[in-house]
């Protein structure tokens, strides 16, 4: 089947969306952008294809294995988990070998075999943990290999190095050199093999699904066998200056954002996107064509990155800011959204005895006020309004935005899509589809 791919290279994450010929989204993929956009693009695309295979599996299983009805989601989740575990093990083997290859240089002199031994022990332990990490009920804070493998490696290696009487620095050194290499090496193309190994295990170890192994295998194999022809690809993103595509395959992120929002909510007329680096206000016409846009000016005050600084300053996770701000009953007025001054202002407020949640509520309001001025610059809000970007996941920011939109523009529909991070990539994929059709 023909597929159309949109890639959105962001400053922190790279997203990919795969559309089929009916303009249905069949796959989404995301990865960290690293310093290498080429790899990020390849990985995001591969992730989207994996997701697309799962979509095709779903379609096949739904038709061919009706007894899975009601449990299809669960089944597919388990199938994917097994796949992820296989993928993780594959990358782990790569990391191990790369680490061993990096045991080189004066600092390792005379300790090569001791380091190798510890490394083998570390990776053996990590392999053992894989089943648990990818167990059906495990919680992972990230899906990125670097995050999962990295945190466990550092913990286990420190422990085992101490036991072996080796300097932990040596293990850090090989890891630091290797992780970037491994991360920038795309996973092997043998996707079907990993799916099938996962399926086999699932069928064997989860009899509760009570399905006929051969029937399921036939359905999954047919899904894996569908030829996903890449009919056209369009890339976009903040890093477009260095996008690894030729010019005719590139569209502006603003256009992609506008069109993506239109695809999600066809009645959208105004889009607000608050990303890490910038804030955009976009007006689109009934066809999703951008009519006007404004971005934050040269000063990036009030963008997503600002919240990052605040989180660091408060020694909190980024995702914890919103919930804490929601606890506030009395918002503190924060006048500056200057990232440079954020820390000082915060300490000043804390020193004055203001509550953390009240300060945070004020900070969220300040960010949204900035966004309101960008919306106002772009032409205001007349009809459906769609909010996208990382900050759209933050409930405190959304609460302030709703308040201010209603106060200033009346009772308009406000759309926030849980998949809003893919808005740009969806727009790009739609452009790809339109380029061919």
């Amino acid at each position: 089947m023909k597929t159309f791919i949109g890639i959105d290279l962001g400053s922190t994450t790279t997203k990919a969306v795969l559309l089929d010929d009916n303009a249905d989204v069949i796959g989404r993929g995301i990865t960290n952008s690293r310093s290498n956009y080429d790899t990020a693009t390849r990985v995001a695309k591969l992730e989207a294809i994996i997701d697309a295979r799962l979509t095709l599996c779903r379609r096949a299983l739904k038709d061919d294995v009706p007894e899975l009805a009601g449990r299809l989601d669960d089944f597919l989740t388990r199938l994917e988990l097994g796949f992820r575990r296989e993928q993780f093990l594959e990358q782990l083997r790569d990391l191990e070998q790369t680490c061993i290859d990096h045991i080189d240089g004066d600092r390792f002199a005379g300790q090569e075999s001791a380091v190798t031994d510890v490394l083998e022990a570390v990776f053996s332990k990590l392999r053992d943990e894989a089943a648990e990490i990818y167990g059906p009920n495990a919680e992972r804070r990230s899906d990125f290999f670097r995050d999962i493998a990295g945190s466990r490696y550092l913990a286990v290696a420190e422990d085992l190095a101490k036991q072996a009487g080796l300097s932990y620095d040596l293990l850090l050194n090989v890891y630091d050199k290797s992780i970037i290499e491994v991360e920038n090496r795309p996973p092997s193309e043998d996707m079907s093999g990993k799916f099938l190994r996962s399926l086999e295990e699932l069928v064997n170890e989860a009899p509760e699904f009570g399905v006929d192994a051969a029937t399921v295998e036939r359905a999954v194999k047919s899904a894996l066998g569908v030829d996903l022809e890449e009919a056209y690809l369009v890339g976009t993103g903040y890093g477009r200056v260095t996008l690894p595509f030729s010019k005719e395959h590139i569209r502006s992120e603003i256009l992609c954002h506008g069109l993506g929002a239109h695809m999600m909510y066809p009645d959208t007329r105004t889009v607000l996107d608050i990303g890490g680096q910038d804030t955009k206000g976009i007006q689109v016409d009934p066809e999703g064509i951008v009519e006007n846009f404004q971005m934050n000016d040269r000063c990036a005050a009030g963008c997503g990155r600002y919240l990052g600084y605040i989180a660091d300053e408060m020694k909190m996770g980024l995702h914890e800011l919103g919930p804490m701000a929601m606890k506030s009953t009395r918002s503190v007025r924060i006048n500056s959204t200057c990232t440079v001054f954020a820390g000082a202002e915060l300490r000043d407020r804390l020193a004055l005895g203001e509550k953390r949640e009240d300060i945070l509520a004020g900070l969220h309001r300040a960010i949204i006020l900035r966004a309101m001025s960008i919306i106002s610059r772009s032409g205001g809000i007349s009809d459906q309004f769609t909010f996208t970007g990382g900050v759209a996941k933050n409930e405190a920011a959304v609460r302030e935005l709703r308040k201010l939109v209603v106060e200033n523009y009346g009772d308009v529909t406000i759309n926030i899509n849980p998949e809003s991070i893919y808005t740009g990539a969806l727009g790009a994929a739609t452009f790809a589809r339109r380029a061919v059709n």
Binding site: R333, S336, A344, S373
Partner: protein
């Protein structure tokens, strides 16, 4: 007799009232009354008063106004006062104002005059230009004709009549007001512990929104009250604060300077209330008298050209000498062209006279006072050490 706290409480209410209720009530009290807003730095309020209109000083939105639309009109490198002023406008807080005057102070306020014309086409908006040439037959004639044009514009737009007789009466009333402002300043310089700078600021600022007669009475009452009140004297040093002639510092900033150990004995806040030095003659051609006062007896400030190099910055030296100040604090709004471009020249003059100074920037909505407290406190300490040495 009223006590000073009640008076200052009333001033504080006026200061905090971003809807200008007092001016609205004044206007509503009699049909046909007109209110004319003006921005820093100076307009001849006598002319408005003579037409039976209320001059209303608009000096931004302070630190309590939430700017939602105003920011949409300005880049990040432009000061705060025009944004909050536009916010006041688009949010309807100035919907009772019949005209707006934008004095010649800098390019931002100058351009705001044109923005006002585009955004509020029904309001009488005028860029109030003043001569930078101080010869009577050149700048003086030009200024007189500009004043005449202003009178005619107001007469046309507001349906009022501005007669010479009324102008003379208004000049006398404003002379009285200026005398009282000077008295307040002199009292503070003499006994600053009895006249906290924030109180003096609020008292003078009330004059921007009240009818002048009421404001004069208020100052009289305050002076009468504070002379009889006693407050503890602190071991503060004495400073002149300069650079505050347009965008207003938050009240907290004024308080912070004093709390850090500096008595403010002179400043350039709200210059419109004492722009003209001494009394304007009442006899003769009133517009001519106003022009003469402007050319030859008015304040020096960054927005005005100083034709004589030797005179540059001397107003500051004179203020230091007259009020026995021990140092100067340059507090300038961020991105304020007049204050910041003038600052190095003024600092050179002070350095030549061995007058110590410090400098920092603020915005009308600055929330952080800690750095200012630290700088002003260190300055006060160093002055004390220096004078003891």
């Amino acid at each position: 007799m009223k006590n000073s706290k009640d008076i200052i409480d009333r001033c504080q209410q006026l200061y905090e009232d971003l809807d200008f209720t007092a001016a609205r009530e004044w206007k509503a009290a009699e049909p046909g009354r007109k209110v004319i807003g003006y921005m820093p730095i100076y307009v001849p309020r006598e002319i408005l008063h003579a037409g039976g209109m209320l001059p209303l000083g608009i000096v931004g939105g302070g630190d309590q106004l939430e700017v939602i639309h105003g920011d949409a009109y300005y880049q990040s490198y432009i000061c705060r006062i025009p944004r909050s002023t536009i916010e006041l406008g688009v949010s309807g807080r100035l919907d009772f104002v019949d005209g707006m005057l934008f004095p010649s102070i800098c390019d931002v306020i100058r351009n705001l005059s044109g923005m006002w014309k585009l955004m509020f086409p029904d309001v009488y908006s005028r860029y109030f230009d003043v001569p930078q040439n101080y010869a009577d037959d050149i700048g003086g004639n030009y200024y007189k004709a500009e004043l005449k044009e202003l009178c005619e514009g107001l007469e046309d737009h507001c349906g009022v009549k501005i007669t010479d007789e009324a102008l003379r009466r208004s000049i006398a009333i404003y002379n009285e007001n200026r005398r009282l402002v000077r008295e307040v300043y002199e009292f503070r310089a003499l006994e600053p512990w009895k006249a906290p700078a924030s109180d003096v600021y609020l008292l003078i600022r009330a004059g921007l929104v009240l009818p002048v007669e009421e404001h004069s009475q208020m100052m009289q009452d305050w002076l009468a009250a504070v002379r009889h009140e006693d407050r503890p004297m602190r071991d503060n040093c004495r400073v002149v604060v300069t650079g505050l002639f347009c965008e207003q510092p938050p009240l907290n900033l004024i308080k912070s300077i004093e709390l850090s150990g500096c008595y403010i004995v002179d400043d350039d806040l709200l210059l419109v209330t004492r722009w003209l030095l001494g009394d304007v003659p009442i006899d003769g051609d009133p517009l001519g008298n106003l022009a003469d006062a402007f050319l030859h007896h008015s304040e020096s400030t960054a927005a005005k050209y100083e034709p004589d190099l030797k005179e540059k910055g001397q107003h500051l030296v004179r203020s230091v000498e007259k009020y026995g100040a021990e140092g100067v604090i340059f507090a300038s709004p961020s991105f304020c062209d007049p204050a910041l471009l003038d600052r190095p020249m003024l600092q050179h003059v002070l350095a030549d006279k061995n007058i110590p100074y410090i400098a920092f920037k603020y915005a009308e909505n600055s929330g952080q006072m800690q750095p200012i407290r630290e700088q002003a406190g260190t300055f006060a300490d160093s002055i004390k050490l220096w004078s003891e040495a």
